[in-house]
């Protein structure tokens, strides 16, 4: 069991870990940092865009194919199944793919920053 105390503000000035200080100070380090931020942002935008496309495709699919919304799977109308349950696996899969790729980006950054 864990208890958390909330009142004390955490000051902005915290000790920063050694490797991060090195990255901040050198010009080469900043090149790596900027490239890491760019690749993380690109990854986030690609995953978000892909997810929104699939999300938008669901109602379009229902509208485009007549009769699909009314068809039944195990007695439940298909449009309810698609919107009420089908979207969650897509969300989970997007999240899982993102986490793997984000961790890979960070591993690549670490390799670069340490080999220097």
């Amino acid at each position: 069991m864990t208890r958390i105390r909330v009142t004390a503000p955490r000051s902005a000035a915290r000790p920063v870990l050694q490797s991060r200080e090195a990255a901040e100070e050198s010009a080469v380090g900043q090149v790596f940092v900027r490239s890491l931020i760019r690749s993380q942002l690109r990854l986030a935008l690609v995953v978000a865009g892909g997810f929104l496309l699939i999300l938008g495709a669901f109602p379009l699919l229902l509208a485009a194919i007549p009769g699909l919304a009314e068809s039944r799977v195990a007695g439940i109308p298909f449009d309810w199944l698609l919107l009420g349950a089908g979207i969650y696996p897509v969300t989970g899969l997007s999240a899982w793919l993102y986490i793997r790729s984000a961790a890979r980006n960070e591993a690549r950054y670490r390799d670069l920053a340490e080999d220097r």
Partner: protein, 488 residues
Amino acid sequence: MNPAVGIVAIAAVSVATAVIGFYGLRISRTTGDFYVASRTVRPWWNASAIGGEYLSAASFLGVAGLILLSGTDALWFPVGYTAGYLMLLLFVAAPLRRSGAYTIPDFTEARLDSRAVRRVTSLAVVIVGWLYIVPQLHGAALTIRTTTGLPAWVGSTAVVVVVCLTVVAGGMRSITFVQAFQYWLKLTALAVPFVFIVLALTDNGTPAVAAAATNPTGLAPAGPYQNISLLVALLFGTLGLPHVLVRFYTNPDGHSARRTTLIVLGLLSVFYLFPTAYGLAGRVFAPGLAQAGQADALVLLLPGRLIGGPAGELLSALVVAGAFAAFLSTTSGLVVSLAGVISQDVLGGSVRGFRLAALISATVPLGLAFMTDSLALAGSVGLVFAFTASTICPVLLLGIWWRGLTDAGAIAGMATGGLLCGGAMVAGGALGAGGTPFWLAQPAAWTVPAAFAVMILTSRATKKRVPRTITKVMTRLHTPERPLATER
């Protein structure tokens, strides 16, 4: 249903919450507890706790009620509530954890090096929190009225009293265990009665779910604008909710913040299947509730209607207990994060200040709840998400990903979004549900882009004000904490 059953269920949940809160008080006394705790909270516990705080009256009662009223259009609510967490994971989770900031005002102050930005952010956080507590109290009022027959004000007052007692006494201070327990209680409270409902229906030779598509109210279906605007509000509103963001601090590092969010997504996905199923069942077996204006009480009444006798009473008690857990956990999470902000920024950060701030944070929404009336819980929470998406979301997203953000830009953007969205909410309230044009009723689709645009343009115009600490801050936000050999 028998009033005594409802009262016992509500009392049991309140007492259990208070007891666990007070028990936690005795052990947690120092700031150090918090930091030590932050290294030992496993992602599973933390994720359950986030789920416990996040699943509010809107999720527990409102979603099923709205599905009963408007059918598949309302399915966008649970989808948006869940997908909001995906956006949180993609754009906010790890950098926010790495910033080391505990609250959103802490983050904006550190990022933009400005006390003024901190004050504006604090104001936005307090407004969001108050607006979010009001629907919880409406939900409590509705539950008390429907299940016990007592006057409605007893419900909202009971929630505020229990939350104040536990928070002011020092317990309930974001105790991970309590919140995690309440997630599983809420899930059980919906899942177990539903299993019995399905069993009872199959025994009786169920009528097929044929009537599901029929509309019990004659409400016009929502157009694409309403659905898109709602999704904008929910997708971008989640990543600015103060009580959700606080929880990310208990992760040891950015990577585990991401893993926690992944588990939260799973927990929410499982949970939201049940309100959806209740809504669908309600359309088939209890369409009368929609005409009677009792749609939000669907989850509370359905088990009793479909399963008679003592079994029905017991299952109803379980659902009522789950509903009260939802009001208590969300309200206390919000009161704790609001009290933290108010006491630091206005009352000097002492323990006495924190207690006073907690009282203020809980009683102001109680007054608002008495003055207003709830038509649809999920709808009013949707508006709060629109407000968050127009104020806190732009400053978080641009602060994390854009070096060009300045303090002037942040303040101008938050003010624009807040005024536009707040104005739309006030105008909508004044015009009433019937007289509000659709673009005012769902304002997020234009207030969120407006806030982003003003924030970016003002920052461009005040380029010289980009803080000198920017390189250091951006490096800290985005680089992994420490090379870990095991992760390679």
